[in-house]
């Protein structure tokens, strides 16, 4: 999705924003599938990043995530969308218990934007393949996270938070929020990927499983 000239892997700000928001859409789906927030049968397989990725077929969730990723990367009423303006600091997916609304997991995607690119409009070079490989590594890690993340036995719901610069006006599809933190979390840092314009770090923090107490 990065705009490129023939034979050169040039990445523009717009292209990078598209990569990041697309990544987020697939990562969100993957988390919902792997953590069992929605039933497995409501997902369908597609090929992406050289892996079989699962996308939800539930209309409500599908439109939610689509609207969300559109907000991150495309032009909205806001004027200048967040990723392209370098105003988006992080995106957090929060998984909470449906019954108690207690936060059980936080998937934190921090974004560092190269301010040079934003201000001066320069472009960078990085091979698409390289970026895809990095994203693939993260997706694999998300999928394998089920080996150490505590079981979510109860019905869960999710929310998506965005950390932005303070001067960003809150668009009408968002409302100001508290960070929805976990008390005494366990944290695992996953791989990151870098488009040379946006660097995305992934971190998952989760509620300590009682069983683990020594």
């Amino acid at each position: 999705m990065a705009s490129r000239t023939v034979a050169k892997d040039i990445i523009t700000l717009r292209g990078s924003a598209a990569i990041v928001s697309e990544f987020f859409g697939y990562a969100a789906n993957s988390i919902l599938y792997n953590r069992g927030v929605y039933p497995e049968e409501s997902f369908a397989k597609v090929k992406k990043y050289g892996l079989p990725m699962l996308l939800t077929q539930d209309e409500g969730v599908k439109s939610f995530i689509t609207n969300l990723t559109a907000q991150l990367s495309e032009n909205e009423i806001v004027g200048k969308e967040w990723l392209e303006a370098g105003k988006l600091q992080r995106v957090v997916m929060v998984i909470m218990s449906k019954a108690t609304k207690e936060v059980l997991e936080r998937w934190n995607f921090s974004i560092e934007t190269d301010s040079d690119v934003v201000e001066k409009g320069v472009s960078r070079e990085k091979s698409d393949r390289e970026i895809m490989r990095e994203i693939q590594a993260i997706m694999r890690q998300i999928a394998s996270s089920i080996t150490y993340l505590p079981c979510l036995d109860e019905p869960c719901v999710f929310d998506v938070l965005a950390y932005t610069d303070t001067d960003v006006p809150v668009p009408f599809t968002w409302i100001e929020s508290d960070p929805k933190l976990i008390a005494n979390p366990q944290m695992v840092k996953l791989h990151s990927f870098d488009t040379k314009i946006h660097k995305v770090d992934t971190l998952v923090s989760y509620k300590n499983d009682e069983w683990d107490e020594q």
């Binding site: 039933p39 938070l161 933190l181």
Partner: protein, 449 residues
């Protein structure tokens, strides 16, 4: 970790959920958002004072810094409603719902005793030792119809009067299936030679003979004016007993004798079990096209015992024969098995307890346990509550009384044993479905006492 520390210092922004505790007024760090927190704590009115306001503004600016020293604000996406879904994990939701109802129910019902002995034993000479037949039915009129050999008797549970309804002449034919209609005005009798008869019991007269099958009719079930019959000829026929040409639909899906047939309590679904170990679920509206809703092949033996759950829509219990011995609980909406119990014995009948969340299974042969016994299982946990049974040989059929207190087991030892295992009757406080049923029944108290 740095990021974490930064986060905890910056708990600002409007609080979306009331459950988040707000620290005391004197803690300036947290009371930075005027707009909505003001609404929640009237005591913070003193923040309106201008000099304090300026101070707070300064504070906000300095505190909302992340680990890199950049100020930020947090927002949550509310772009479009997520939940068009009903369930997250449907099975879990189902289980939770049932567990919640069960918990509620548990607190209300006192500890019950399972009777050790039978209330009554009736002699049933010449009762045929045939697994597939369903020769017993207890109607809403408190009459028990039971086929013994070539004869069919009616036993009045109110006055214990016995009345022979019919006798089949000729050695090659006998009743193989007996079912009362829902209003207990008509008795449907299926025969070995494939005949299906409707009897009016008031006048002890044969009303109609229905044709259609070419093999013995081992199972029948009523759904209002529809009489469904399952036969050794592998077909299921729906008869509309009001019409002159009664044959409404004929379904040929089973690969062997249809030995179990039960309509759901709402009458929208039919469960049919066959000797080829398959269980089919049918929608009432789609019967004429022979298109089944679900084809369930989990059992390893004939599926004769079928019973729909009285307190949960579309939940069905099925029991397998000798090589299977499993009670399976199904969600017929999705066609998935939500529970499975291995009883290790041939299951000939299943009856749900309408008063307490339990299910009773009647057993025949077994190489290990539960032989010739009745087992009571708590629902939905499916833990065994107890077992009863004094039958000397295998149990063939089960049926329960209209008031849902007594269960009769018909055994190959030529006895009918009455067990008051489902009582005491609940007042219907917790579960509305149970109390609705009780309301429907005109015989509220058991007259067998």
């Amino acid at each position: 970790m740095k990021a974490q520390r930064g986060d905890s210092l910056n708990r600002i922004g409007t609080l979306q959920d009331d459950s988040t505790t707000v620290p005391p007024i004197t803690d300036f760090r947290y009371h930075s958002s005027f707009s909505s927190s003001i609404k929640k704590q009237p005591a913070s009115a003193f923040f309106f004072i201008p000099c304090v306001q300026a101070y707070r503004q300064k504070l906000i600016e300095n505190l909302s810094l992340d680990s890199q020293g950049r100020p930020f604000k947090i927002m949550v996406f509310r772009g479009s409603p997520k939940s068009s879904r009903k369930s997250i994990r449907f099975v879990d939701e189902l289980r939770q719902e049932v567990a919640a109802i069960f918990e509620k129910d548990c607190k209300q019902t006192p500890y019950r005793c399972i009777p050790k002995g039978e209330k009554r034993v009736l002699d049933a000479p010449r009762l045929r030792n045939d697994y597939y037949s369903n020769i017993m039915s207890w109607g809403m009129n408190n009459m028990l119809a039971v086929a013994l050999g070539h004869e069919l008797y009616l036993w009045n549970s109110e006055d214990q009067a016995v009345h022979k309804l019919l006798q089949v002449r000729g050695g090659n034919d006998w009743p193989t299936s007996v079912t009362w209609s829902e209003d207990a005005r008509t008795l449907a009798v299926g025969y070995m030679c494939s005949n299906l008869q409707l009897w009016d019991v008031e006048s002890s007269k044969l009303i109609r003979s229905l044709q259609g099958h070419s093999g013995r009719i081992a199972s029948t079930a009523w759904n209002g004016h529809i009489l469904t019959s399952g036969s050794r000829d592998k077909s299921i026929i729906n008869h509309d007993v009001r019409a002159a040409n009664s044959l409404a639909s004929c379904i040929k899906r089973h690969a062997d004798e249809v030995c179990g047939l039960k309509w759901s309590t709402e009458g929208n679904r039919l469960a049919s079990g066959g000797n080829e170990n398959l269980l089919y679920i049918w929608e009432a509206s789609k019967m004429s096209s022979s298109k089944f809703l679900h084809r369930l092949s989990d059992h390893c033996a004939a599926v004769k015992a079928l019973a729909w759950c009285p307190y949960q829509n579309n939940v069905l219990a099925s029991g397998g024969g000798l090589s299977d011995g499993c009670i399976k609980i199904w969600n017929t909406e999705k066609g998935i098995c939500i529970n499975n119990i291995e009883t290790k014995a041939q299951i000939c009948g299943l009856e749900w307890n309408r008063h307490h969340k339990e299910i009773l299974s009647g057993h025949g042969y077994s190489i290990r346990e539960n032989q010739n016994k009745l087992c009571l299982w708590r629902y939905p946990s499916m833990t065994k509550v107890g077992e009863l049974g004094n039958h000397k040989s295998r149990i063939i059929n089960l049926c329960q009384s209209p008031d849902g207190i007594t269960v009769i087991s018909a055994g190959a030892d030529e006895t009918l044993r009455f067990w008051d295992v489902f009582g005491p009757p609940t007042a219907g406080a917790g579960n509305s479905m149970v109390s609705d049923l009780q309301g429907l029944l005109s015989f509220r108290t058991s007259l067998l006492r």
